[in-house]
C-alpha cells in the first residue's frame, strides 16, 4: 500500500503545481511529475500483485519504460512549443497569454 501513497502524493504534487504555477516551464515540470506519479503507481501495483501482467512482451515494467519515453517525447515537443510561444509573445507566463479567446 505504501507504493499507492507515494504515487498518489507524487501525482497530487504535480497537479497542484500545474494549477498554481504561472511560469510555463514550471507547469511543464509539474506535468512530468504527474506522469511520473502515474507510472510509479502502475509499476508498483504490478510488483505487489505479482501476476502475469499483460499480453505485451516484457510485462508491465516495459510499459513503465515506454511511458518514460513517451513523456520525454512530449516534453521535447512541449518545450519547442513553449520556446516558440515565448519568442512570439515575449513572455513565458501563462496568465499573460490572453490574445486568443472569445
Amino acid at each position: 500500500m505504501n507504493i499507492v501513497v507515494v504515487a498518489t502524493a507524487l501525482f497530487s504534487v504535480g497537479l497542484y503545481g500545474v494549477l498554481t504555477r504561472r511560469d510555463l516551464i514550471a507547469v511543464l515540470a509539474s506535468v512530468e511529475v504527474m506522469l511520473g506519479g502515474a507510472s510509479v503507481l502502475l509499476v508498483g501495483l504490478a510488483r505487489t500483485i505479482d501476476m502475469p501482467a499483460t499480453q505485451l512482451p516484457g510485462g508491465v515494467e516495459s510499459v513503465g519504460v515506454l511511458i518514460v519515453v513517451l513523456a520525454a517525447a512530449e516534453a521535447a515537443v512541449a518545450l519547442a512549443v513553449v520556446i516558440a510561444a515565448a519568442r512570439a509573445l515575449s513572455t513565458s507566463r501563462v496568465d499573460e497569454m490572453t490574445e486568443v479567446g472569445g
Binding site: Q55, L56, I67, A73, A84, A85
Partner: protein, 498 residues
C-alpha cells in the same frame, strides 16, 4: 509472439499509415517537399481503400489479442486514412509552399496511423501510446502556423493535453491494479463481472474526464476552438475529424467492454451531463462567433454533445452503429468545411478567416460555395446529407428510451440542431447573398499564414476546391444511399462489437 500471415494482412491499414509517414519523412529530409506530400497522399489513400475492402469482406475478429480488425473496425480505419489523404490533397498549396509543409504532411500521416491504432486496439497501454502520439502531433500541427496566436493556442493545448494524459494514465493504472493486473480490455471486462471494487469509481471518473478532453466536450473543450482557429486550415481539417472518430470508437470499446454493463447507473449520467453542457454551450457560443474557423471549433463542441447522447443511450449494436455514422459524418463535413477555409485562404489571400470575409465567394467560385453549403447542411443535420442519418439514429434511439432524462437530452439535441442553423446559415448567407463590397474593412487584413509564394491564379485554389467537392459528393452519396439500399446497410457497414 508470432502473428499468422492472414492476421498480418488485417493490420495493413495500421502499418501502411506508419510506413507512409516514415517514407514521407525520409523523402522530405532530402528536400523533396512535393514528392513527400504526394507520397503521403498516395500511401494513405491506398491504405484507406484497402481498409474499406477489408471492412466489407472480413468479419470482425481479434488479431494477436491486441487489435480488433475486420468489419466496422477496418472500415472505419480505412475511412480515417482516406480523410487524411483528402486533407493532404486539399492542403496541397500550403503543404508544398510552406517550409514546414513537408513536416506537416508527415505529422498528418502519423495522426492517421495513431488514430487507426487507437480505434482498433484492445489493450489499455496501446491506447495510451496512440493517444499520446495523437496529442504530440496535434501540438506540433497547431503551432505550425508560426503566428503569435497559434503559438499561444499551442501552449494552451500542450498544458491541457498533458494534464489529460496524466489523468488517463492514472485512471488506467487504477483500472489495472484493481482488476487482476491485466491490460487487455476483455480481461478487465471479465474481471469486472466478479464485482466492482470502489476504486473503480475513481478510475471511471479519471478516464471519462480524459476522453471528454480528447473529444473536446464541455467543460474540457477550451483547447479546441483555439487550436482549430489558429492552425493551418488543412491541418485543422484532420485534427477536427480523424482523432475525434478514433476517440469515439475507443470510448465505445473502453466503456463498453472494460467497464461493461455493470456500471449502467453511473456512466450514462456522466455522459448525459457532458452532452447537455456541450450542446448548450457549444451552440450558444458558436452563435456569437465572427471567425469562420473558430465558429467551426465551437460547433464541434456541440456536435460532440450529440455524439455523447448516443453514448448515454443503452448500448445496442444499432445505437453504436448510429453513433459511428454520426461521428463519421461529422468528421467528413468538418473536414469539408475546413478545406473550404483552405480554398478561401488561397483564393482570397487577404482573408482573415472571418465569416464576413467570405462574402460573395459562393458566387465567385460556385463549386467551392456548393461544397461548403453541403458541409453546412450536413452539420445541421438536413435530410439527404450524411449528417441526417447519424442524428436520426442517435436521437431516435434516445427518444424511444424509457428514461425521461434521456428523452429530454434528445429533445435538447434536436433544439440545438435547429439553433445551429443560426450560425451555419450565416455562412451560407455570406457565401451567396452578401457581396464583397459590403464586407467590413477589417475583414481584409493580411492573413496570418501569409500569401503563398507564387502569385495566386484562378487555378491555385483547385486542389482545395477539388478536395472539398469530393467530400461534399461523399456527404450527399451517404445521405441518399439509404433511400436505395436501406438504413441497415449503412449501419451494418460500421458494425463494431459484432
Amino acid at each position: 509472439m508470432s502473428i499468422p500471415r492472414e492476421d498480418l494482412i488485417m493490420l495493413v491499414p495500421l502499418m501502411s499509415a506508419f510506413a507512409t509517414a516514415v517514407v514521407a519523412l525520409v523523402v522530405d529530409a532530402f528536400g523533396k517537399r512535393k514528392a513527400s506530400v504526394g507520397l503521403a497522399i498516395v500511401g494513405l489513400a491506398a491504405g484507406g481503400a484497402y481498409g474499406i475492402v477489408l471492412g466489407v469482406r472480413e468479419d470482425p475478429r481479434l488479431v494477436a489479442d491486441l487489435f480488433a480488425s475486420g468489419g466496422g473496425y477496418s472500415a472505419i480505419s480505412g475511412y480515417m486514412l482516406l480523410l487524411g489523404a483528402l486533407a493532404l490533397l486539399g492542403g496541397w498549396n500550403w503543404f508544398t509552399a510552406s517550409p514546414l509543409g513537408g513536416g506537416a504532411a508527415v505529422l498528418i500521416a502519423f495522426v492517421c496511423g495513431a488514430s487507426v491504432g487507437l480505434a482498433t486496439s484492445l489493450d489499455l497501454f496501446i491506447m495510451i501510446i496512440c493517444l499520446e502520439a495523437l496529442a504530440i502531433c496535434g501540438y506540433a500541427l497547431t503551432s505550425q502556423a508560426r503566428s503569435a496566436r497559434s503559438a499561444e493556442a499551442a501552449v494552451k493545448y500542450v498544458i491541457q493535453g498533458s494534464v489529460a494524459t496524466g489523468l488517463l494514465l492514472l485512471g488506467f493504472a487504477i483500472l489495472y491494479g484493481v482488476y487482476v493486473a491485466r491490460t487487455g480490455l476483455y480481461d478487465t471486462g471479465v474481471a469486472r463481472g466478479a464485482g466492482a471494487p470502489e476504486p473503480a469509481l475513481a478510475a471511471l471518473g479519471l478516464i471519462v474526464g480524459a476522453f471528454a478532453y480528447k473529444l473536446g466536450a464541455f467543460p474540457f473543450h477550451s483547447w479546441a476552438p483555439d487550436a482549430f482557429e489558429t492552425a493551418p486550415p488543412a491541418s485543422a481539417a484532420v485534427m477536427s475529424s480523424v482523432p475525434k472518430i478514433a476517440a469515439v470508437v475507443a470510448s465505445i470499446l473502453v466503456f463498453g467492454i472494460a467497464f461493461g454493463a455493470a456500471d449502467t447507473g453511473r456512466l450514462p449520467v456522466l455522459w448525459m451531463v457532458l452532452a447537455a453542457g456541450s450542446i448548450i454551450f457549444g451552440n450558444l457560443v458558436a452563435l456569437k462567433q465572427t471567425s469562420y474557423t473558430r465558429m467551426l471549433g465551437y460547433s464541434g463542441v456541440a456536435q460532440i454533445g450529440y455524439v455523447l447522447v448516443g453514448l448515454a443511450a443503452p448500448s445496442a449494436a444499432w445505437t453504436t452503429s448510429a453513433l459511428l455514422v454520426l461521428v463519421c459524418a461529422y468528421g467528413l463535413a468538418a473536414a469539408c468545411a475546413f478545406l473550404g477555409a483552405e480554398a478561401a485562404r488561397v483564393a482570397r489571400p487577404g482573408w482573415d478567416r472571418s465569416i464576413a470575409g467570405l462574402a460573395g465567394l459562393g458566387r465567385e467560385r460556385p463549386v467551392l460555395g456548393l461544397s461548403m453549403a453541403v458541409a453546412m447542411f450536413s452539420l445541421t443535420g438536413m435530410p439527404l446529407t450524411a449528417g441526417f442519418w447519424g442524428k436520426f439514429g442517435v436521437f431516435g434511439a434516445a427518444l424511444v428510451d424509457d428514461s425521461h432524462w434521456l428523452v429530454g437530452i434528445a429533445v435538447l439535441g434536436i433544439v440545438g440542431s435547429v439553433v445551429s442553423f443560426g450560425y451555419y446559415g450565416g455562412v451560407l448567407k455570406a457565401l451567396f447573398f452578401d457581396s464583397p463590397e459590403d464586407a467590413p474593412e477589417d475583414a481584409l487584413v493580411a492573413d496570418e499564414l501569409g500569401a503563398d509564394s507564387e502569385e495566386p491564379s484562378r487555378f491555385s485554389a483547385m486542389p482545395a476546391i477539388l478536395a472539398s467537392a469530393l467530400a461534399a459528393v461523399a456527404i450527399l452519396a451517404v445521405g441518399i444511399a439509404p433511400a436505395f439500399r436501406g438504413l441497415e446497410w449503412l449501419y451494418e457497414l460500421l458494425n463494431v462489437l459484432g
